[in-house]
């Protein structure tokens, strides 16, 4: 479990995070939802340690991360896997080497054979068992995301962070990536935090959703509750999506909840 307590962050006097307090639950896909410029990515970067919050604390399973000793921070960081918005694959390495890289760096005690088995397992898990020899420039955006996920889970991460995993992908690939993240989260019981503004992701994988608006947490709940949330800013955000409007219509007509409003039905409307 990751606990964020009263995290504040400003840039040049402009306060981006205004005292955010929230919890990311273990074994669930926790979504940080919000429009552009609401501070989602800044909060994510504060959590993973790429930025230092001005105030507040972040705790990983009871261990304080912010302002703690470098060694403790390193210990926590080594349990973190991250999928970046642009995948951030090392472009001088092959797909195989990208996935092997954290193992080589973080677990020097692993033998070459053990590393090879682990890399092959991770690549197979994301459906890229035949792409190991390719360079990042030779694969599609969706494949890059899969490699990013494989690299993140290779060292048996406890916490998985995904910064807009669907950006730049077509809807079908987006759904596949969402499903993969969801499956991996439940399969390994890890704490996953996904930054998104994509309502499709909310419907697909939103086990726990935190809605940010102008640097503040306005709402949290799950995907079954979000359509009935009574927060005006959240309602405005979610119903700006045609797909969600359609899904809501199906929901109202069938009274079957969001489960009844599959993507196919929504599209048919």
């Amino acid at each position: 479990m990751i606990e964020v307590h009263n995290v504040q962050k400003s840039f040049d006097g402009n306060q981006i995070l205004k005292g955010i307090t929230c919890t990311f639950e273990t074994g669930k896909c926790n979504l940080l939802l919000g429009g552009s410029g609401t501070g989602k990515s800044v909060l994510l970067q504060c959590i993973v340690g790429l930025m230092k919050p001005d105030l507040g604390s972040i705790t990983f399973d009871g261990t304080v991360f912010t302002n703690n000793k470098v060694q403790i921070r390193q210990e926590i960081r080594r349990k973190i896997g991250m999928l970046f918005q642009g995948s951030a694959l090392f472009d001088s390495m092959t797909v195989y080497e990208n996935v092997e890289f954290p193992l080589k760096m973080l677990t020097p005690e692993m033998s070459r054979e053990e590393r090879r088995d682990r890399v092959e397992f991770c690549l197979k898990r994301v459906g890229l068992e035949n792409a190991g020899t390719k360079m990042p420039s030779e694969i599609s955006g969706g494949m890059k995301k899969r490699v990013g996920i494989a690299r993140a889970i290779a060292p048996n991460c406890t916490y998985l962070f995904c910064d807009e995993p669907n950006s730049g992908l077509d809807p079908l690939t987006s759904i596949k990536i969402d499903e993969l993240i969801h499956e991996i989260t439940h399969e390994y019981g890890i704490t996953t935090v996904v930054v998104t503004h994509d309502m499709n992701s909310v419907i697909e994988i939103g086990d726990h959703i935190i809605f940010l608006y102008k640097g503040q947490k306005l709402w949290d709940g799950n995907k079954d509750e979000i359509l009935n949330a009574q927060v005006p800013e959240l309602k405005e955000f979610i119903f700006s999506s045609s797909l969600v409007r359609a899904a809501k219509k199906v929901d109202d007509e069938t009274e079957g909840g969001l489960a009844a409003a599959t993507t196919d039905e929504a599209i048919n409307i």
Partner: protein, 243 residues
């Protein structure tokens, strides 16, 4: 200016704290030696050979006094090559080639979040990416300068012989006159200092690039400009201190 220098020193400090394992650093340094050293041999060879040739021809053109022996041309080519042309011009050429490559490479890694990916893994990105580049530069620049010295002197020999400015015997006689071995040591000290300046300044500029492709280009240009200025200042300071 003072703030930028302070940031530069902090950057160097960050590179030396939390270093990666020695085997990793050594492997990375060898990789960088290939990029910085081996891949620069061709351009260094071409530039130094022609500089030696042109120096020889131009000295011969200016040396019209019949009282001065023609072997002086060989002597002057050697002195100019060892003391100044080989270390300084080679380093300026490498500032353009290696400096822009380092700044561009690190800048691209920064804007495509590859540096952040290393940081999230708990790897000291400065130590992993920058330290081997600086070390490789400091190892390879002196070797390239030695190559440049040899090729420059050979270039002068060929140019002098082919144009008839002086005979091969006179050139060799000049080359062997009043040789001071310390000059070689001085040139190598200069090359190590220049290597550090070029690689550290370029890494600093690239590592802190923010924005997009345009900023990466700007970082490369600034890195080369600053490196060349630093080389020229260091050249003067070292000459004043060590000669």
């Amino acid at each position: 200016m003072v703030k930028a220098f302070g940031e530069f020193l902090l950057f160097l400090q960050s590179m030396l704290t939390r270093k990666e394992r020695l085997t990793v650093l050594w492997q990375r340094t060898l990789d960088e030696c290939i990029v910085i050293g081996i891949n620069s041999i061709f351009i260094v060879a071409i530039v130094s050979a022609f500089i030696g040739a042109v120096t020889c021809v131009q000295i011969a053109y200016n040396l019209t006094n019949p009282l001065i022996p023609k072997s002086t041309i060989g002597y002057m080519v050697r002195e100019m090559t060892i003391l100044e042309l080989a270390p300084t011009i080679t380093s300026i050429v490498l500032a353009g080639k290696v400096g822009s490559s380092i700044a561009g490479g690190l800048g691209t890694m920064r804007i495509t979040e590859q540096v952040s990916a290393l940081e999230v893994m708990g790897i000291n990105s400065a130590s992993y990416l920058v330290f081997p580049r600086i070390l490789a530069s400091m190892l390879m620049f002196p070797l390239l300068v030695i190559l440049a010295m040899a090729l420059s002197i050979i270039g002068g020999y060929l140019a002098g012989s082919l144009t008839g400015a002086l005979s091969a015997q006179e050139y060799v006689e000049g080359i062997r006159t009043d040789f001071i071995p310390y000059n070689i040591v001085f040139a190598l000290i200069k090359s190590v200092v220049f290597a550090f300046l070029v690689s550290a300044i370029s890494s600093f500029k690239g590592f802190y690039t923010q924005g997009g492709a345009l900023e990466v280009g700007n970082a490369s240009t600034t890195a080369v400009n600053n490196s060349i200025i630093a080389i020229l200042i260091a050249d003067f300071v070292l000459a004043a201190l060590l000669l």
